[in-house]
Symmetry: C2
Subunit: 333 residues, 2 copies
């Protein structure tokens, strides 16, 4: 029989399924207890201490009861689940041992028993901030082309823009405040950027920055911006659909009225989920690590301190309150 080592375990719980925009009050904090030992017979599991949690827009989908969503809804009364960086306290899985750092799905709590760590990755390279592992995902590769990125100062956008710059593209981003626009132009090295909240006419704004049209659109917002982009795409353009954050909270999502541009301009528009590209992660690290170490990639994180701040941090994503990738610091080791 396994020995017992009971510890308190602070948790962020989903209180009820979200209706409309998420509110902090949809979540609550709870302190339960956990045995910091892997139960007998629980093979291939790891017991982890959580260090960093990632706040991602897709999580809203799991906080709602949506038929046919690509992942299951969270269970009411249980801790929420998301990407995080954790330290292994104990392991019954052959790939992991005590002390390993891993990233992957974990609970929004101090300690989690991860019963299926097969989608987690061991962190080998510790010369970069650990929190980066909650966000350094997403990849784009083209050269000599014009690239537009919406929500460009966010977790994904800032990286996509820098990768595109490294590959020799002309890169413009949109964001929702002057500070974020400054960040894009001065810190991330975008060729240009604009505050979409100050533009009455997205069409005109895009024409200003892309007089000859857009080759690649990295879509994070959807709705009216997508319409304007379709009007400004070039022939054989590509749209990588990463997210449509402007639409997630609308009871009736806005319609996109000019999809026939897909035909006349022979545009490819494709949605993707990181789930499908895990196998490429080692390749991605190989590509990105040298750039990070040479200081060629800047990465801005918005650190919320403590599990207590997790609900507000998650809710803030949807009003654009975060600057850069929103992370929750659960423990600093």
């Amino acid at each position: 029989m396994a020995e017992k080592m009971i510890s308190n375990n602070k948790q962020v719980i989903l209180k009820n399924y979200v209706n409309g925009p998420p509110k902090e009050s949809d979540m609550s904090l709870k302190t339960s207890t956990i045995n910091l030992k892997i139960p007998d017979g629980c093979n291939d599991a790891v017991l982890v201490k959580n260090l960093y949690l990632s706040c991602d827009p897709y999580m809203l989908g799991r906080m709602k009861k949506i038929e046919g969503h690509y992942t299951d809804a969270f269970a009411i009364g249980s801790p929420m689940v998301g990407y995080g960086v954790s330290r292994v306290l104990e392991s019954s899985h052959p790939n992991y041992k005590k002390g390993d750092l891993i990233w992957g799905f974990t609970g929004w709590e101090e300690y989690t028993l991860v019963t299926d760590p097969s989608t987690s990755f061991k962190i080998h390279d510790k010369d970069v901030p650990l929190s980066y592992y909650t966000g350094l995902l997403g990849l784009l590769s083209q050269k000599g082309e014009t690239v537009f990125i919406s929500a460009a100062s966010g977790a994904v956008g800032q990286l996509v823009g820098q990768f595109a710059k490294l590959m020799g593209c002309y890169v413009v981003g949109s964001a929702g405040s002057k500070d974020k626009v400054d960040l894009l132009k001065n810190k991330f090295g975008f060729d240009d950027a604009f505050n979409y909240k100050e533009e009455r006419n997205y069409n005109a704004a895009l024409k200003r920055y892309f007089p000859y049209g857009i080759d690649i659109y990295f879509e994070n917002v959807g709705g009216k911006m997508l319409e304007a982009v379709l009007n400004n795409m070039r022939v054989h353009g590509r749209i990588a659909v990463c997210g449509m954050i402007s639409q997630y909270n609308l009871e009736h999502p806005e319609g996109v009225h000019n999809l026939s541009a897909l035909i006349s301009k022979r545009i490819r528009m494709e949605g993707f989920l990181v789930l499908d590209y895990y196998h490429l992660y080692p390749k991605f690290l190989e590509m990105v690590m040298p750039h990070i170490k040479k200081g060629k990639i800047t990465y801005v994180e918005d650190m919320a301190d403590g599990l207590e701040s997790a609900p507000a941090a998650l809710v803030g994503l949807f009003s654009g309150r975060n600057v850069g990738k929103q992370v929750v610091v659960v423990a600093k080791e």
Copy 2:
């Protein structure tokens, strides 16, 4: 100096740019004269007698004054231009000689001087009806998957469905009348078909025919049908966007409100124009000819007799009056 051989030349003229749906009165018939000799110094040209003209929905775009359309608008007062099958009467182009049959862009008139026949193709195989060359374009290749085709009895849909069947797919089509549905099921060998005008809820209709979802959607109509299809697509589904005929005549095209399905289902949606695939035409013929000769491909044409009937035939496309590919017979040799 070239000799003269003056002939009458009946023409279908664009009278004014179209506003809203096309009307027969937007076009007019005119008889002018033409010298049936290639003018001196006009190299690389062919003078043709037109046999069959193709009526295609895309032509509406050239009958309107739309900024940024992928092809130029037709000139007011000039004959309309479209795909057709023609016989070469005289040639100053090294690739063509008198008597050759060709298909490609030609005028909506009895005789045309084609000054750039570089996008035309010589017809070598005359064992199939010549008119087929106005319509046997468009190609899809997948196997063991579920395929939905809208406007399925039309020029393109009927072929796409049969190709998909040849490749072992489960194929369902929608069309706008009982007769067309019968054609799909009994003549084209679709697995099933439905009359969209009799369905109050496209979503429910698609769920009935695709309880496990749609792998491939061949999009010809757009609007509400596209929305319903997005709801019923499977993960990693593909949408080939050939046309959106339900939208071309709307002053305000309908919005598509559920594009975030592209993300959750990782759908690829791509528009195309046949212009980009001319180089594959010989390969296509190689593939399709044996099937046609063995009677494995059925092809239904709706023949309008005489240039006089051309305007009505073209207008009829937009109310779905045609059954099968709409062709205008200008001359039977």
